[in-house]
């Protein structure tokens, strides 16, 4: 859904050139954009099912899609409670990560020295593998909520900071000059010009951060915890329940997509002018 939101543009541009058939054209394009990927997924699932049923791959190594779905249904109550833990960690971590990322971006935009000092460090921080840091965090902060949230904050603040800094810097200097001739204070320039100018890039960054948040939570749970989808995952892996393994993978994907969808909705609400630009 979020993807379609972005790639709408070429279709609209084409429709501007040929206004007569535009509405129908766009609708047909939209339909195709939904049908083609859906058919591809369905086809692959069918192949997978066939391969397992026909015995091409031993069933104890690879469960069939039907088995995965039934595992998902059978374990639904348990999965729901684990998912609630994971989502709560992801949401909390993402919120704090956003706040930290925002603060970093504002400071780096305001003070050139801070930008010079921290931008390489922030980039380097992203080269550290999450899986390597997570055990240390468990060591330092225990098995509770803390190490999970810290890990998510570390992974999610980066896309937010980078996109916001780029957005702030994209402001036309002439616009700032114009604001000065209108006696604007730097706070007014920030809120009236810089924030809206950075909104689009901010939401692109946030969408990436949202997926990082779920994955970050799961990784942190792998390495120690009492509940959460990562904990569930380690348990079913140890009991060789691969159908449940696949079920939880599906659930994690679905949660990530849902979170990205929420970001997309948020963006539509916060940037009403974008809709006008498309029409």
């Amino acid at each position: 859904m979020a993807q379609g939101y972005d790639s709408d543009q070429p279709a609209i541009k084409a429709s501007r050139r040929a206004p007569a058939s535009s509405a129908r054209h766009v609708r047909r394009r939209g339909l195709r954009r939904a049908v083609v990927p859906a058919a591809t997924v369905a086809g692959l699932l069918a192949l997978w099912q066939l391969a397992v049923v026909a015995g091409l791959i031993p069933n104890f190594l690879l469960p069939s899609p039907a088995q995965v779905v039934s595992a998902l249904v059978a374990d639904a109550p348990l999965l729901t409670s684990h998912a609630a833990t994971t989502l709560a960690e992801a949401a909390l971590g993402l919120l704090i990560g956003c706040a930290v990322g925002f603060a970093f971006a504002v400071l780096m935009d305001r003070f050139e020295m801070l930008y010079l000092a921290f931008s390489p460090l922030i980039t380097v921080s992203q080269t550290i593998p999450t899986v390597a840091v997570a055990p240390l965090l468990v060591l330092w902060f225990g098995y509770g909520l803390m190490p999970k949230v810290v890990l998510i904050v570390i992974t999610t603040f980066f896309p937010v900071t980078v996109s916001l800094v780029a957005g702030f810097r994209s402001v036309d200097p002439d616009m700032v000059d114009l604001m000065r001739t209108m006696n604007a204070t730097s706070a007014q320039v920030f809120w009236q010009v810089k924030i809206p100018a950075a909104a689009e890039q901010f939401f692109s960054g946030l969408r990436i951060s949202a997926t990082y948040a779920i994955v970050g939570a799961v990784i942190a749970e792998w390495l120690g915890g009492f509940s959460g989808l990562g904990v569930y995952m380690t348990r079913v892996r140890k009991s060789f329940s691969y159908d449940k393994m696949f079920a939880v993978i599906m659930l994690i994907s679905a949660l990530s997509l849902a979170l990205m969808g929420v970001v997309g909705v948020l963006q539509r609400i916060c940037m009403p002018w974008k809709r006008a630009e498309r029409n």
């Binding site: 036309d172 002439d174 616009m175 000059d177 114009l178 604001m179 000065r180 001739t181 209108m182 006696n183 604007a184 007014q188 009236q192 010009v193 809206p196 100018a197 909104a199 940037m271 002018w273 006008a276 630009e277």
Partner: protein, 283 residues
């Protein structure tokens, strides 16, 4: 503003008046904005771009500054608007020194610079909101002017939904709502197509006259300058190769009587004489 000339086209434009060192003397009406011997560089420490420029704009008067691209027109505008400080010289507004003080004259930059994230009503209200009015109060002040600025019905539109001409009108209204009686326009019509441009020009001149706004517009289009202005300053020089620009001449344009269209005016002897005069200093 002075009454239009009597329309005796054959007399043509009045002769050139040499650039006076202090601009005030060359204007017929009390000067609203004066530049006294401005010497400017792009950035502090750079070479001199514009040297010893003096000019003045009377209340309610439209004055143009013409010059080739890159001769320092925008640099002069920046200094007049207070965004930059001159190396030497002063900027006077109604006789008060406002050198290097932004916010005293309204300045419209070359681009319309409407904020894409605000509806037209909020865009044009921006100077009022920045000045401390609430959004509602600002809207109340701005709304009645939409008709006069040819923007009726666009209050709730986003800038991306308007044509170039309408966006420019919105930029004019925003500039007007900055509330100063002096407007600096940097190539105000250059982004528009020819037809819209000539409409907008006559619309602007009528409006500025009606509202008593002193206007200094810069352009590289000699026809545009002669069509709009009562006086044209010609800026010449080549700062890129180390020759600072100066005001080479001040050409007076005999305005046509009221009711003469811009197209007809462009065929009169008065127009052509003034145009020839301006061009002779640009060569």
């Amino acid at each position: 503003m002075r009454a239009p000339a009597d329309g005796d086209g054959k007399r043509g434009a009045a002769g050139r008046v040499p650039a006076a060192p202090a601009g005030a003397a060359s204007s017929d009406v009390a000067p609203a904005l004066e530049a006294e011997a401005l010497t400017l560089s792009w950035n502090a420490g750079d070479s001199v771009v514009v040297e010893d420029v003096s000019l003045s704009v009377g209340a309610g008067e439209v004055v143009c500054l013409v010059g080739r691209s890159g001769c320092g027109k925008t640099t002069i505008m920046h200094a007049l608007s207070g965004l930059s400080r001159p190396l030497s010289g002063r900027v006077l507004l109604h006789g008060h020194d406002v050198t290097g003080t932004p916010g005293r004259v309204s300045y419209m930059l070359q681009k319309d610079l409407l904020l894409p994230s605000k509806r037209i009503l909020d865009n044009v209200s921006l100077p009022l909101v920045l000045g401390g009015l609430s959004r509602e109060q600002a809207h109340e002040r701005a709304r009645p002017l939409f008709e006069r600025f040819g923007l009726k019905g666009t209050e709730r539109s986003w800038p991306s939904e308007l044509s170039g001409g309408m966006r420019q009108r919105a930029a004019f209204l925003r500039t007007y709502l900055m509330g100063n009686d002096v407007m600096l326009l940097d190539e105000p019509f250059s982004a528009l197509d020819a037809l819209t441009r000539s409409d907008m020009r006559s619309w602007y001149c009528d409006m500025a006259h009606e509202l008593g706004i002193a206007t200094l517009a810069i352009t590289h289009d000699v026809d545009e300058a002669v069509t709009m202005a009562r006086r044209v300053y010609v800026l010449a020089g080549n700062p890129a190769s180390g020759v600072p620009s100066r005001v080479e001449a001040e050409v007076r344009v005999e305005r046509p009587p009221a009711g003469v269209s811009a197209a007809d005016f462009a065929l009169t002897e008065g127009f052509l004489t003034a145009k020839r005069e301006v061009l002779s200093f640009l060569r």
